[in-house]
Symmetry: C2
Subunit: 237 residues, 2 copies
């Protein structure tokens, strides 16, 4: 684990993390990550497989939903996430790339990541979907913008609203009935950050010079957005 | 169990069922079921909840798929089935009917039906989705056509292709590797018919005079279509 990751992992668990809500106001070198000019097939493959994973997680959560309203909300989100997956595989096809071949290298890592993110119950699973898809969609939307051919289109697909915001309501309801759930989810939300950043990090070219320095401001922004999502859940990041 | 159902249940397990492939050529009183003028909310609610159930079953099957190509095929089918569900809930909204309230009366029965249809493994689950969604979509598309306000639109939604045909390929592959699977699925396909027809029967108004006589030709057609699906799988109905 190199230093930026180590530092961010630490920051994510620090009480001072809340102060980084102001990070967005700082002047930030936003082109740093985009200038890495990542490979279209790699970004599309990893992002497409992640969407497929969240689709499955949302479908499972919809199946296990305690009432029909929750089932409807989660099924609708599953449908939108699947539509993002499909749009990304269409971008692969436009580049004459095979979707299965492009996704395969990421299958093992993403499967393991999402399996651990399932957590102990329905609420932890929902919390994981909301936080990890939020953070990684932010990350991949920025990374994709640097793809030389049609990067903006890929970025736009990844950034599409996918209805996972409905999870906030479901979790808030659950926490209002069971106050102990709040502290459990706060710990869970902090635990997820490390694994989630590892997935993001695996997408970056390892040979890139100054990768650490370039990625630092992006990570600061990602963590600020993560803190906002935790805030929306009423949890301390 | 009344006589038409009993007779059909019997026929479905009879070797003579194959001969009914010619049933479509017979003159059939197709308006019989439509003339029952079923309640829009009831048909839409039950059909919408069934689509939601198949969506969940397809998502589970996608999660458990042995390779990425199967996962893609089943996820795509799940997405299309969910789109049918959404279109049906939109038809409910157009009629100022609440989707949750319309689906609720069918939840217990459909959940139990789909739970039993899960079968012993991935192949039985796929076989169930293919056969039961085929039979019940046929049935509800016909029943919906009799809804007085906009019945044709509902019927068209239910009859939309949903990509479950991709299951034929997955099952055929599995059976080619494991010949014992064929005989197991043949028994399974026959077992499913009874439960599936019970779901169809529950949608019919019980007070309707001559319901039995009216439904008979429709059931003959439904069974002929079921036999064609079994044929496509290489199984004897």
């Amino acid at each position: 684990m190199d230093s930026w990751f180590g530092r961010l992992g630490l920051r994510a668990e620090s009480p001072r993390a809340r102060s980084r809500k102001s990070a967005k106001d700082l002047p930030v070198d936003r082109v740093s990550i985009e200038e890495m000019a990542p490979d279209a097939g790699a970004v599309l493959g990893q992002a497409a497989y992640l969407q497929l994973g969240w689709f499955e997680a949302l479908s499972r959560a919809a199946s296990a939903a305690p009432d029909l309203a929750a089932k409807e909300s989660l099924s609708a989100a599953a449908g939108r996430v699947l539509a993002k997956h499909t749009a990304l595989t269409e971008e692969l096809a436009r580049r004459s790339l095979d979707a299965t071949a492009a996704m395969s290298p990421y299958r093992e890592q993403v499967d393991r990541f999402l399996e651990e993110a399932e957590g102990a119950d329905w609420y932890e699973a929902l919390c994981s979907i909301y936080l990890t898809s939020g953070l990684l969609d932010d990350f991949f939307a920025r990374l994709a913008a640097g793809v030389r051919d049609g990067g903006c289109a890929i970025s736009e697909i990844i950034a599409r609203p996918d209805g996972t915001d409905g999870i906030v309501e479901l979790l808030t309801e659950g926490m209002s009935r069971n106050p102990l759930l709040s502290s459990r989810l706060a710990v869970w939300g902090r635990r997820l950050v490390g694994d989630t950043l590892l997935v993001a990090r695996s997408a970056l070219p390892t040979h890139e010079e100054n990768a650490e320095r370039r990625i630092e401001p992006v990570l600061t922004e990602l963590m600020a957005e993560h803190t906002r999502r935790m805030d929306r859940l009423g949890l301390t990041a």
